[in-house]
């Protein structure tokens, strides 16, 4: 496997950052890093994703940091993450300026209301899809609802809520002796 330079890494992630409309970034990353560029094996990618999902932060940005570091050290990590984030951020500046300029136009306001309504539907679907297992398990469902009520309805601050819930959630899944891996 050939080691790419930071500039090559930036270019590869920039391309994903420009083309990845509609989310699902992890799939884009896998296609580019494993299939197209051959910079990582499937196993290395899955290991990076495991870390990215366990640690706080966006999964896609975390995977970019890990992959970039593996390929070219600190410069590679910076190149990967900035390449992924910068194009969308620039486009958002433009969308944001247009929004401020045209928000009072009734046609624009109606379209934006529809867009926001659709975005809620999208987040709802993603939540149901990745939470399918948790919704069907009574103990997990209790944690889902407890978290929802504390943070979503009672506005308990997130650090406090995590401090209260996380120890129990983790202890209940603690490693058990003799359990099959």
């Amino acid at each position: 496997m050939n080691k790419p330079t930071a500039a090559e890494i930036f270019a590869a992630f920039f391309r994903i950052g420009v083309t990845s409309f509609g989310g699902g970034l992890v799939a884009y990353l896998r296609d580019a890093l494993v299939a197209e560029k051959n910079w990582m094996t499937e196993d290395e990618f899955l290991a990076a994703l495991e870390i990215g999902q366990t640690l706080p932060g966006l999964n896609s940005v975390n995977v970019a940091i890990i992959a970039g570091r593996k390929l070219a050290g600190p410069a590679g990590a910076v190149a990967a993450a900035s390449g992924l984030v910068i194009p969308g951020a620039v486009i958002l500046v433009i969308l944001g300026l247009l929004y401020v300029r045209f928000r009072n136009n009734p046609d624009v306001a109606a379209a934006l209301a529809g867009i926001a309504a659709a975005a809620v539907g999208l987040l709802f679907q993603v939540t149901l899809k990745i939470g399918a297992k948790q919704f069907l398990n009574l103990l997990d469902l209790a944690f889902v609802l407890l978290t929802f009520v504390l943070v979503g309805l009672c506005h308990v601050s997130l650090p406090v809520a995590l401090f209260l819930i996380a120890p129990f959630a983790i202890i209940l899944h603690r490693p058990r002796k003799g359990a099959s891996k």
């Binding site: 083309t19 500046v93 944001g96 209301a113 709802f124 993603v126 929802f148 943070v151 959630a169 490693p175």
Partner: protein, 192 residues
Amino acid sequence: MREIVSLLNVFCLLSLLAVGGGSAVLPEMEHEAVTVHQWVSADDFATIYSLGQMAPGPNMSMVGLIGFKAANHAGMSTGWALAAMVIVLLAFYLPSSFLTYAASHVWDAFRDNPWRDAVQKGMAPVTIGLMLAGVHAVGKTASYNPGHSLHFNMITCGIGLLVTAILFARHINPALLILAGGAAGWFFLRMN
């Protein structure tokens, strides 16, 4: 200047609290940005969130627009507002990235630790609960808003549920569905 410091504090903390992805901090972000600091209105927050769904790259880059609007709201110039946007993006992405960078060094020793599995399995329902709270945080403005007419709410809920159903039935790029939602919103909400 005080606004910039508050933005830094809030978004650095959110960065480190984003367990299982960015959507998990959406309810807390909405609460801080709309209710506590009043950087943006509830409508602005819902719109900014949905703009994030339309741009390529990580959807949560929309946090930058909250910084932009906060600076704007505090009477800063456009140049300063753009600086606030960059600061918020860095605040939101750098802390978790540093942590990931550091952790990936020691990960191989840590990867087979049985507690990693416990953390991932145990936190999964917490993340889902937070995402559900995120649906509510945006939905209470964008979908079922007591300040809107019943007719309006039926249309916005209808658009949302239709998007949910379509995504379960078909593999369609969500960005296209969001745009279609915009067209539907214009058509149905403008016609009366």
